[in-house]
């Protein structure tokens, strides 16, 4: 009896572990930046509204809890999340800043005109270097950054109303 029970138990335990492993999304890695200071952005700001030559710097956002949303006009899920970001951030009073990742500024502006602009301002990251500093795996990605400039959360993929309600807002409320 024991002769079969032990191998069977080992097999079942292994199968359960591997089965659990299959359920997990291998892309969903914790950001290496969690609980670390956000890297400096220092990039020109998208659009004509701001005086030319102004750059988006971390110190501009100091003292408030804010979201950094990495986006591009060539990324379909980014287009979809724009209205959600706009409505939710206005409703809950959370400033969203954009990082326009490897995009053409004209195309990015054109998209914001059509889909609505959720961003206080967007930094232009043409060469993707700031994206690399933030350790992004793809667009869209959203970071929750606290008043001291520490990265508190990273969300991979588009922000839906459910994600906003169940993931981002609880984190922001905990920080407030």
């Amino acid at each position: 009896m024991m002769r079969f029970a032990i191998p069977l138990a080992i097999f079942l335990a292994l199968a359960a572990m591997l089965g659990m492993g299959l359920q997990r999304d291998p892309r969903n890695l914790p950001s290496a930046l969690l609980e670390q200071p956000a890297p400096e952005i220092d990039r020109p700001i998208l659009g004509q509204l701001d005086p030319p030559g102004r750059r988006l710097m971390l110190k501009d956002m100091q003292g408030q809890i804010w979201l950094l949303n990495v986006w591009a006009s060539w990324c379909a899920p980014c287009r979809q999340e724009l209205p959600t970001l706009q409505a939710m951030s206005q409703r809950d009073g959370v400033p969203v800043y954009g990082l326009n990742y490897k995009d053409q500024p004209e195309k990015a502006l054109a998209l914001l005109r059509v889909a609505g602009n959720p961003y206080v301002s967007s930094a232009i990251d043409i060469d993707g270097r700031v994206g690399l500093d933030f350790g992004i795996q793809g667009v869209p990605e959203t970071f929750v950054i606290d008043a001291r400039g520490i990265v508190r959360m990273r969300h991979l993929g588009p922000v839906t109303p459910e994600i906003w309600r169940d993931k981002l807002m609880p984190a922001i409320k905990a920080l407030r």
Binding site: P26, R27, L29, A32, R129, G135
Partner: protein, 168 residues
């Protein structure tokens, strides 16, 4: 005549011996001079270092490929970044650290040896040891010398049955 012959032979031998004694250190010295020369010649070029680093780092989008294999745009950016860092004079370790700071230890294709990866590196050996132990336990020729209570009971039954047979 023979005596002088042996003497000359002996002197030749001693001269040879001296030569060897001299040649030994000489050989060592030349070898030592060759080592740094070989080191200079074998120092990998920037291209080779870039290629080697790219094959040690993981593409963060297509996770089962290295940066060298991947054709994803982000892997291109990473290769570009490797090149920039190297041409700025960074060491290979500094380049790996640059990516590790941004993407975590996951970005290394070979996990480093540290407490959280000890189990990962040691598990094959642990499993092999466990297998050997099971094999040794189950190998015939090593019967246990104590009887289990069940075996004892069966032996008792046999003994009693034998006695009954004997009586009848």
């Amino acid at each position: 005549m023979t005596c002088s012959k042996t003497r000359s032979l002996l002197s030749l031998l001693s001269r040879l011996r001296r030569l060897c004694r001299l040649a030994g250190p000489l050989l060592l010295v030349t070898a030592a001079m060759l080592v740094p020369a070989a080191g200079v010649m074998a120092r990998p070029s920037l291209d080779e270092r870039e290629a080697s680093l790219a094959s040690q780092l993981r593409c963060v989008v297509c996770q089962n490929q290295t940066v060298a294999e991947s054709r994803a745009p982000i892997a291109q950016d990473m290769r570009q970044q490797i090149r920039e860092q190297l041409s700025k004079g960074s060491t290979d370790e500094q380049v790996v650290a640059f990516f590790e700071q941004r993407y975590g230890a996951f970005v290394r294709y070979n996990p480093p040896w540290k407490p959280s990866t000890w189990l990962l590196w040691l598990s094959p050996f642990l499993i092999a040891l466990g297998g050997l132990w099971v094999l040794r336990r189950n190998l015939p020729g090593t019967p246990s010398d104590t009887l289990t209570s069940e075996e004892r009971k069966r032996a008792q039954q046999w003994l009693e049955a034998g006695q009954e047979d004997h009586r009848s």
